[in-house]
């Protein structure tokens, strides 16, 4: 019975605190503190759940199953296994950092209205409840319902607290986000209904165990679910809503969007798409190919970006490509790679968006043409940024490496029924994407952190003479870039919010086994025959 409490609690604790926050919204300070407490409570709860759950999915140690709407055959079925626990923990942690940052860095509201930070905090907790519910739901309709709960408050977040400087663009971004994702999830629901027509159940564990996808209807179902998830992930070319949404959202919104909401799509691919898809279909290599196109395309797009937040947003498209590539190999190794890359991306890109927010706070812009020589003005912030950039470009020893390398490995060692040569080429192209990713991050570091006005040092007579010992050349003062405001380096609260992400990036990079082992066990028991 303990597990009932834990599973239901994980959804209702953030929901309850959202209610409390909303009730307290008359006194903003109190409300925000309540929300932070709620995030901490949820995090603690998720740790408890991670420690307490036991046994494979569907067993009584990890799953609850209550008939919810009997006439529609919909169950309130929640459960955890090694695939969802890492995502749950990552989610609760990221929400702690996001809400903590609200204590000081409340986003401004356009048109000079009251800041309404309490409402924002409450909405974030609602999103958290929705996301956690999606990660726990084992009933397809329940998954859809939680999915919607997570998506719709995000529209308010972007529309209300987004970039105050550019109202029309903000509203367009918010609307486009909603249109794409809601249409996507509607399509996904249709797919689920088609599966129900074939399997006679919405229970995904039963589907995974008994349903054999074959025939046109099954293919259509897989395609529809795939499209719905591909919008959310996003998979190229359905990514077009993402750069606007991520770059116009307030900092916490971008963090949540990138770190958590994208994972609904990737998790959906693992939990709800793989069991209803037969690797013998042409659809699977096509999905893998789209993922790889996304990797390269996003890296190229990043190379040409002129806005920091847009750049980070596009980089997400590439990282998600690795996740989908892993899933589309239909191997245990691919599932490992997908979960690892999802968690790593949550930590690293969450951190990157926090940093972008911090930079935007200080310099009033995220335009790369105007951001120069951050090493000279805010060296610690620059240091953290370069760490995050290294992690994101997949430096071994940090979390970003394992997911992507294992995805490439999985593509080389794809499931036996898949076309071998195709996948090997895809692996090779994905690896080139890794190089392009390095290239744009280095270009970013060079332009934003190091670059700027400097004295020429080339001696006129010799092409190859280098001069050194000019260390005390002082970069252009902060005034040149940011008007009169003095630049403050990383503040205490910022350290507090970033430190968990930094540390975990390092820990997972050094000890990947922490994640890989449970994920593989869960993948074997959930997906059975694969790999």
């Amino acid at each position: 019975m303990m597990i009932d409490l834990l599973l239901n609690g994980l959804v209702s604790v953030p929901a309850g605190f959202a209610l409390l926050t909303w009730l307290a919204s008359g006194r903003e300070r109190l409300a925000v503190v309540t929300a932070v407490l709620g995030a901490f409570a949820t995090f603690a709860w998720s740790l408890w759940l991670a420690a307490a759950y036991d046994g494979p999915l569907g067993g009584s140690g990890s799953t609850i199953d209550v008939v919810w709407l009997e006439s529609l055959d919909i169950h309130w079925k929640l459960g955890v296994d090694g695939i969802s626990v890492p995502l749950v923990l990552m989610t609760t942690l990221v929400f702690v950092t996001a809400l903590l940052s609200l204590v000081r860095y409340a986003p401004a509201v356009a048109e000079g209205g009251p800041s309404r930070t309490a409402s924002l905090a409450a909405l974030l907790l609602v999103i958290e409840a929705g996301v956690l519910g999606s990660f726990l739901a084992l009933d397809m309709v329940l998954f859809f319902a939680f999915f919607e709960v997570a998506l719709i408050p995000m529209w308010f977040v972007i529309n209300t607290w987004g970039d105050p400087a550019d109202g029309p663009a903000r509203r367009r971004a918010a609307t486009r986000f909603l249109l794409f994702t809601v249409t996507g999830s509607a399509v996904m629901l249709v797919g689920f209904l088609l599966v129900w027509g074939g399997a006679d159940t919405f229970d995904i564990t039963q589907v995974a165990a008994t349903y054999t996808p074959s025939g046109a209807t099954a293919l259509a179902a897989s395609l529809l679910v795939g499209i719905g998830l591909a919008v959310k992930t996003p998979l190229w070319p359905l990514h077009i809503w993402l750069p606007d949404a991520h770059s116009k959202a307030p900092t916490v919104g971008s963090v949540i969007l990138a770190a958590v909401l994208l994972k609904l799509g990737t998790y959906g691919f693992l939990r709800f798409w793989m069991p209803i898809t037969s690797p013998e279909w042409l659809l699977v290599p096509v999905v893998a190919a789209l993922a790889v196109v996304g990797i390269v395309y996003a890296a190229l797009a990043c190379l040409a970006q002129t806005d920091l937040k847009r750049l980070i947003a596009y980089s997400s498209v590439g990282h998600m490509g690795f996740v989908v590539l892993g899933a589309a190999t239909f191997t245990v190794g691919g599932v490992q790679a997908a979960v690892f890359a999802s968690v790593a991306h949550g930590l690293i890109t969450g951190l990157l968006f926090f940093l972008a927010g911090a930079i935007k706070d200080r310099y009033g812009t995220s335009d790369l043409a105007r951001l120069k020589v951050l090493y000279g003005t805010v060296p610690r912030l620059g240091g953290v940024f370069v760490f995050a950039a290294m992690a994101s470009l997949g430096l071994p020893g940090l979390a970003g490496f394992w997911g992507e390398m294992l995805a490439i490995r999985a593509a080389v060692e794809q499931a036996a029924v898949l076309p071998e040569d195709t996948y090997r080429w895809l692996a090779f192209i994905a690896a080139l994407g890794v190089i392009l990713t390095s290239a744009y991050f280095l270009a970013l570091v060079r332009g934003m952190l190091q670059g700027g006005p400097m004295t020429p040092v080339t001696a006129a007579t010799e092409v190859d003479a280098t001069v050194e010992l000019v260390a005390d050349a002082v970069p252009a003062g902060p005034g040149a870039v940011a008007g009169e405001r003095a630049m403050v380096d990383v503040r205490g609260l910022e350290w507090a919010t970033w430190a968990p992400l930094l540390l975990l990036t390092l820990v997972l990079g050094v000890a990947p086994g922490l994640l890989l082992t449970p994920v593989a066990d869960a993948a074997v028991s959930f997906l059975g025959g694969i790999g």
Partner: protein, 616 residues
């Protein structure tokens, strides 16, 4: 003992974290941590290394592993003779570089991050040499690339530093993909990532000639990038804007040496795949000559040394390509000693005159007496003067190619002949460029100070912290030849065949002749540059990369950006009927957030209904 190995890996990283944390909180703390930890590291390295030299059983241990699908990824160490000598080399040079940096980097505002990066660099190299799991090796391998990126761009205000750093990172990382795919391929083939197991199985036989050509060639690609061999040789000279002690570390004991180490570590694989050996040999033959020519003409002291590193690394690969394992590894050690010496001495020169251009040096013999003595020994070893270490190891390498050309069966004789010819010619060029640089720095009368840097004070000898490492490094440079005479001390009992007396005699004659010629030419030119200073165009391959890779990528990136803005945005907005329609509905719903939500729910419900109809 195996825990000590683990500690040895962890120590530099801990010290780096401490250096960064203590930051600018006091000189004693930051300097004490950096130097103390590297000293402790050297002691631990010695404790691990000495019991495993000579006739000793290798130490292997697995600490942890993933229990998952596919071969497990492990935290495991393996210490054999090769690991032992590499540990000694890396930690000795790292320690001396840290000590040297006390003087060289005194007053640098970024000393904490500099010291921390050297520590991480050392830790990464340690990981590479002790790792028994290929993924762990890859971590160290790429971590070194990142460290060198940061250290090259230490003076990030300089355009050259920024560009050189990016170039180094991208070139080596691209080549590293070879190692990644080699790991994947070997893992599939052997169902393990443990290097000792894989090499043991290959050495035990049962594999056809060139059956494993693919992983061997993939590793070769990674090695070519890391060790800056043709056609990826251009990043190393461009890495020179980094602080000079870093160059000593990169060139002598870590980064580029790791390439040679990897070939030595996977030597059974190479022996089973002559295709890879042939590739390696041809690359080495070309690289050693080309880079020696560059070294001959460049006007920049550090670039002379950088090109000579590329050239000397090619010697090591030449030895390995003809199957002469001991000769290759010994030349790596010898080169580690004298190149660290040369770079640190060059640092001392740069410290004194404030530039790396040799045209601004000259006549420093009296002003920098200690630097003069030690650097002379270093140049002598590089040129292969009897009885310095370079003479013995170079002779061993050239002898090995000679033997292979006459009666080797591993690779085609013509490849060995090419290697032999190239090695002899390069030896001559090495004498020429070493002597020229030596003369230009220490003997040629100093040029009149140019008007624009009259503020440069009179050159002065370096502080003690910089001199001591120089003198310490002369010890192995002078006495290292003993190892060639007694290789059993390192590798254990066996047949080595490292000395070739008459070949050595001929080479010495050649060295003397070349030296005489250069000296005569120098005299004739009135004590100035012995030949016309001649700026070779920047390596032509760079141009090819620029036109063939960089520009197309930039063009594509612009296309993609434009495409995303215009074309795909077109369909997003052009699904515009929907957008506008719903936007209109939103507006109809007045200000209502609640109404919007309801709208969405209605749309969703409609979709459900339609679908239910279809499915039902």
């Amino acid at each position: 003992m195996s825990w000590v190995v683990l500690l040895l890996v962890a120590l530099p990283f801990t010290s780096a974290a401490l250096s960064l944390y203590l930051g600018h909180r006091g000189e004693l703390a930051e300097r004490g941590v950096a130097v103390g930890a590297s000293g402790l590291g050297l002691a631990l390295a010695a404790a691990v290394a000495f019991p495993h030299l000579g006739d000793a059983e290798p130490l292997g241990r697995v600490f942890a592993s993933t229990s998952a699908a596919g071969p497990p990824i492990e935290l495991s160490v393996y210490v054999d003779q090769l690991t032992a000598v590499m540990l000694l080399l890396a930690h000795t040079v790292a320690f001396l570089v840290q000590v040297y940096s006390l003087g060289y980097m005194a007053g640098d505002r970024r000393y904490p991050s500099y010291a921390a990066l050297i520590s991480i660099f050392t830790g990464a190299m340690t990981l590479v040499v002790v790792a028994d799991d290929m993924w762990a090796l890859l971590i160290g391998w790429e971590l070194m690339g990142a460290c060198s990126y940061f250290l090259i761009s230490h003076h990030w205000e300089l355009r050259e530093a920024r560009a050189g750093a990016v170039k180094a990172f991208l070139m080596t990382r691209t080549a590293d993909l070879g190692l990644l795919f080699a790991i994947i391929v070997l893992g599939m083939r052997f169902d393990t990532y443990r290097i000792s197991t894989i090499m043991g199985e290959i050495a035990a036989g049962g594999f056809g000639r060139d059956e494993l050509w693919l992983p061997a060639l993939l590793i070769t690609a990674a090695v070519i990038g890391k060790s800056a061999q043709f056609p990826l040789h251009t990043w190393l000279p461009d890495a020179m804007p980094g602080p000079t002690p870093i160059s000593a570390l990169i060139h002598a004991a870590t980064m580029v040496a790791a390439g040679v180490f990897l070939v030595a570590r996977t030597f059974p694989l190479y022996l089973s795949a002559p295709a890879a050996l042939t590739t390696l040999g041809l690359v080495a033959a070309l690289t050693m000559l080309v880079s020696a020519v560059y070294a001959l003409f460049t006007q920049d002291l550090k670039r002379v040394l950088a090109w000579s590193t590329v050239s000397q690394l090619a010697y090591m690969f030449a030895a390995l390509a003809v199957g002469a394992y001991a000769a290759g590894v010994l030349h790596l050690l010898a080169h580690g000693a004298f190149k660290a010496l040369l770079f640190l001495a060059a640092g001392s020169v740069v410290h004194a005159v404030g530039t790396t251009s040799m045209s601004a040096m000259g006549g420093l013999r009296d002003k920098l007496p200690d630097t003069f003595i030690t650097m002379t020994i270093g140049f002598g070893a590089l040129a292969g003067v009897v009885p310095l270490v370079g003479f013995f190891t170079k002779d061993a390498v050239i002898g090995a190619t000679w033997e292979a050309a006459l009666h080797g069966r591993l690779i085609w004789p013509w490849v060995a002949w090419v290697l032999f010819g190239s090695a002899v010619l390069t030896a001559v060029l090495t004498v020429a460029y070493s002597l020229r640089a030596w003369l230009l720095v220490f003997f040629t009368p100093a040029a009149a100070p140019a008007t624009f840097d009259t503020e440069v004070p009179e050159p002065h000898e370096a502080p003690l912290s910089m001199k001591v490492p120089l003198y310490l490094l002369t010890v192995p440079t002078v006495l290292g030849g003993l190892l060639v005479a007694y290789p059993e001390l390192v590798f254990g009992p066996g047949e080595y065949d490292l000395t070739h007396p008459w070949l050595a005699a001929v080479m010495t004659l050649l060295v003397a002749l070349t030296a005489a010629l250069v000296a005569w030419q120098w005299q004739r030119s009135g004590g100035r540059d012995p030949w016309h200073p001649f700026v070779l165009p920047h390596p032509a391959v760079d141009r090819i990369y620029d036109v063939g890779v960089v520009r197309p990528v930039e063009w594509l990136a612009r296309m993609v950006r434009a495409g995303d803005r215009d074309v795909i945005d077109g369909y997003a907005d052009g699904a515009g009927i929907a957008t506008r329609g719903i936007g209109w509905l939103f507006r109809r719903a007045q200000t209502g957030n609640v109404q919007t939500y309801l709208m969405v729910v209605v749309v969703g419900a409609c979709a459900v209904a339609v679908a239910a109809g279809v499915a039902g």
